[in-house]
Symmetry: C2
Subunit: 200 residues, 2 copies
Amino acid sequence: MAEGTALPLVLLAEQFAKLPGIGMKSAQRLAYYVMSMSSEEAQELADAVVNVHKKVHTCKVCMNFTDNELCPVCADSTRDGSVVCVVESPKDIAAFERTREYKGVYHVLHGLISPVDGITPDDLRIKELLARVAEGEIEEVIMAANPTVEGEATSMYISRLLKPLGIKVTRLAFGLPVGGTLEYADEVTLFRALENRNEM
Amino acid sequence: MAEGTALPLVLLAEQFAKLPGIGMKSAQRLAYYVMSMSSEEAQELADAVVNVHKKVHTCKVCMNFTDNELCPVCADSTRDGSVVCVVESPKDIAAFERTREYKGVYHVLHGLISPVDGITPDDLRIKELLARVAEGEIEEVIMAANPTVEGEATSMYISRLLKPLGIKVTRLAFGLPVGGTLEYADEVTLFRALENRNEM
């Protein structure tokens, strides 16, 4: 921010600008907005930021974020523990839970293999997944990493570790998005949709 | 956020979603990002939020935000105290200061007259402006409220109060934005640019 601005406002804008998707201009606007909030509201925002670090940690089973020993999914005895959906991050679980159709459990890798960024299999929660599989209850592992180069590499790596153990390893289907039109589908998606066509 | 998400993360996302320009989807992403920050970084963000309320208040002269008795502009003895630029909010001062060309001082109204929203002249810092003018040093008042209905109404109102006092009241020029093209200028702007044309 330019001269003429109070230092604490500049410092707050700099903090906001560190967040993803927030540029310096938006950050300044947010800083001024915080100034227009009541002191109580500002304190609530600050407390909420600190509380996620104080109270949230990983579930000891699936590595999802939770403020208890087990995450809500692992603590739910009606979920099918024989099917595990492997995702990159806890926010992917929220996406699956919104479908209200998946009844299995999850395993969060907390990243994807990426040699460029120096992230190796040892940096991910793969050991924990293998330990869960070794307990014998798991029959199917659904690989649900994003379909990027890193996601594909990670899925292949884990798949190769699991198959010798007699575990069924599946992956999410590719195809047209529901409600999407052919006109706007990219050629790779369209090819996959054609390849994976189902009988009507 | 859906089930399967830790409550403190949901609460933080709700706090972020209260900020202007941040929808629920972005708010969730920000909440997960805070979780990926170190505890120290999260504490710094929280402290910055609380600090603007603890440390920032209005300058006793111009009503700009400051963490001292006087804002940086009013505290600067090289500024020309005979010219006052009247703006809606402190962030407008930052915009003027970025030009590095304006050498006068400011007065922040902290709002604009808006009968629809129940904001009357008494809700703005107009009395404080009149008190400054009464001290006798001010020769020119530049009305720099945004060119909206409320901005125009406020500028007209203040102008009518100041003119009988023998103060020169001016306003910002309308015209083409620098770097803009005729093709994309709206008709009102183009008409104003034509009307205010200058000899070359």
